[in-house]
Symmetry: C2
Subunit: 375 residues, 2 copies
């Protein structure tokens, strides 16, 4: 059976990238790797839209999240964590694991934070050292207004730390222009690589905090990594094959051009939303992002049955996590994704729903999407 991967990470890898990674491996302490690393450094800064170096770790994105915490904070520091899903909650878990006091700003799953709430908390609690946010909350499909948050946090001494794991290369996040202090990302979303690389970009304001931080760290030590990166090396053995693939993936992104990449993701997301709504289904996120579309399962149908219906047809999508399990399903359209993926996703959704007894007119969702893709 022909396979399709439409889940929010890992996402499909372009053949150019797979091919590069399948070549015989090279050693990391060689002029050849150093030249490759220099290319990757330059291109990462372009994709992060930041002037400072982007650090790279052999880890999943969570590793760089931990790095953002342990390199900028000290025991007992107070931080704000915006929580509206599994990944916002992860920021709080990491902080708590390290004895950092968390002031949660909770919003219901599927909704996005009102930046004014964060402004109020910062006014009330002037000692807050950092605000942790999620640009695209993969577990709910919601996007948070990072630009507004940056304007608010930027006026204080606090750092704004953003999980952009599912948004980098999907939605515009001009780190320097908006004044985001730390942007964390991973390789397996719109960067179009297998999982195993984590990234962190830091503003000057964030770097100024690093020497003061008294939380323990070793593998995710940002200072050691920055020192190494300046020599086109990493502090510990890098994930060489993924770095080789990264050069190709970044080339593809930059050849398409960031504005075009964002426009493509926006188009796919709008088409997907129009398609599911045309089938009478409801979106889960109030402000849906462009990386993946979270959809409420129709009354009487467990979302797991929809995931299984796709799987039966060779296609991997995702269900809901935690308390959203059984209630929503999530279809990604990020990274190496194009119109065809939306057509496959919606055409199959119609078949799956029909199978499950949901009243569906075949082709209605697809047509609604086509009307957007056509423009």
């Amino acid at each position: 059976m022909k396979r399709y991967l439409l889940a929010p990470g890992p996402t499909p890898i372009p053949p150019e990238v797979l091919q590069a990674m399948a070549l015989p491996i090279i050693h990391h302490r060689t002029p050849e790797f150093e030249a490759l690393f220099a290319d990757v450094r330059r291109d990462l800064r372009l994709v992060f839209q930041c002037r400072n170096e982007v650090l790279m770790f052999a880890a999943s994105g969570t590793g760089a999240m931990e790095g953002a915490v342990v390199n900028t904070l000290s025991p007992g520091d107070q931080v704000v964590v915006i929580r509206g899903g599994k990944f916002g909650e992860r920021w709080a878990e990491i902080c708590e694991a390290y004895g950092v006091r968390v002031l949660p700003v909770d919003v219901p799953y599927g909704t996005s934070v009102d930046p004014g709430t964060v402004a109020d908390v910062l006014k009330r609690e002037p000692g807050v050292r950092a605000v942790f946010a999620t640009h695209s909350e993969t577990s709910t499909g919601a996007v948070h207004d990072v630009q507004a948050l940056a304007a608010i946090v930027g006026a204080t001494d606090a750092l704004l730390v953003v999980d952009a794991i599912t948004s980098l290369g999907v939605m515009d996040l001009p780190m320097d222009a908006w004044g985001v202090d730390i942007v964390v990302a991973g390789s397996q979303k719109a960067v179009m690589l297998p999982p195993g690389l984590a990234f962190a970009g830091l503003s000057d304001k964030a770097w100024a905090r690093v020497p003061e931080s008294r939380l323990p760290k070793y593998y995710f030590n940002f200072t050691a990594e920055r020192k190494a990166i300046e020599k086109n090396q990493s502090a510990y053995t890098p994930a060489v094959s993924l770095v080789v693939g990264l050069r190709e993936a970044l080339r593809l992104i930059l050849a398409e051009g960031l504005p075009n990449v964002f426009a493509r993701h926006d188009r796919l997301a709008r088409a997907m939303r129009a398609g599911v709504q045309a089938l009478g289904l409801e979106l889960f996120a109030e402000h849906p992002g462009c990386a993946c579309t979270a959809v409420k399962a129709p009354a009487g149908i467990e979302s797991g049955a929809i995931v299984k219906g796709y799987r039966k047809r060779g296609i991997t999508i995702a269900g809901g996590q935690g308390s959203m399990k059984g209630k929503i399903f999530r279809i990604a359209h990020m990274g190496y994704a194009d119109n065809s993926d939306v057509l496959v996703a919606l055409g199959t959704l119609e078949l799956v729903l029909a199978d499950l007894g949901y009243p569906v007119k075949l082709g209605e969702g697809v047509r609604a999407a086509q009307q957007i893709l056509q423009k």
Copy 2:
């Protein structure tokens, strides 16, 4: 120019493994990945020669080293660290980064620890919570007597934690039989994969320590990982493509059979040593291991010139690290390595040395190696 990789990690990847990793990526929350993961779990236990689960992290080996520290110790704990090279020193650096007090047992670079010294320290300091050792010290080529250390540490309350990054799949290390408490390994040495996976196997004695540990941890939390692994998952997104490659690599190792794998490494190492000695060169390690051979550069020749001589011929070997820089060079013969690699290494060494004005009879080193390979 045809390329050869003869450095001590990354090491060459077998074509079967490269091919498996070049297939379209699969999602990690699928029955397909879970079946793959179950195979990997089973085969890892066979290669680690342990009954308990082997944990797996998306990280380089250093990440699992950090995990071994932060999951078993608490602030102020006292530990013994055996240091005879860069990687022994790394254990101490990690412990110190986390406020663990280190009693160093230092041996000169190139030598191996006398297990009796460790026994004496443990007698004098009964409060020691762990002994950190390196099975194969990659920076010097020396092997430490882990079996003797295990017998000594096993009679105390301390844990024996062994960095086997460059020894797993090279030299016998029957973890359960010898009573080693934690074995840490990485993917890019004799496991024949690209870097990016780190492993840790724990004895029951080590697991009993984990709940008491009060050092902070999140990404390298062993308890969370063990819970996930029992469901054929990992706590955070796994490095899927490397895990796919791992299944193939472990299959290759087990198809050859561990005793044959160890015998092959022993043969290659003996041939390499005989070859360099036949050229009048001296080994750096007093008790050399079978993963890589560290050789003293002859008087008047900087070892970097030898490394460059190889590089000019398309071959990557390694020089010395830290204070050994310029003084030694290191040639690996581990993982996807066979007789041919030793012949290439020695035949090229003769050419390089002749170029550098060292008196060498072409073919003498090769012949000495052949006499061993012939048996």
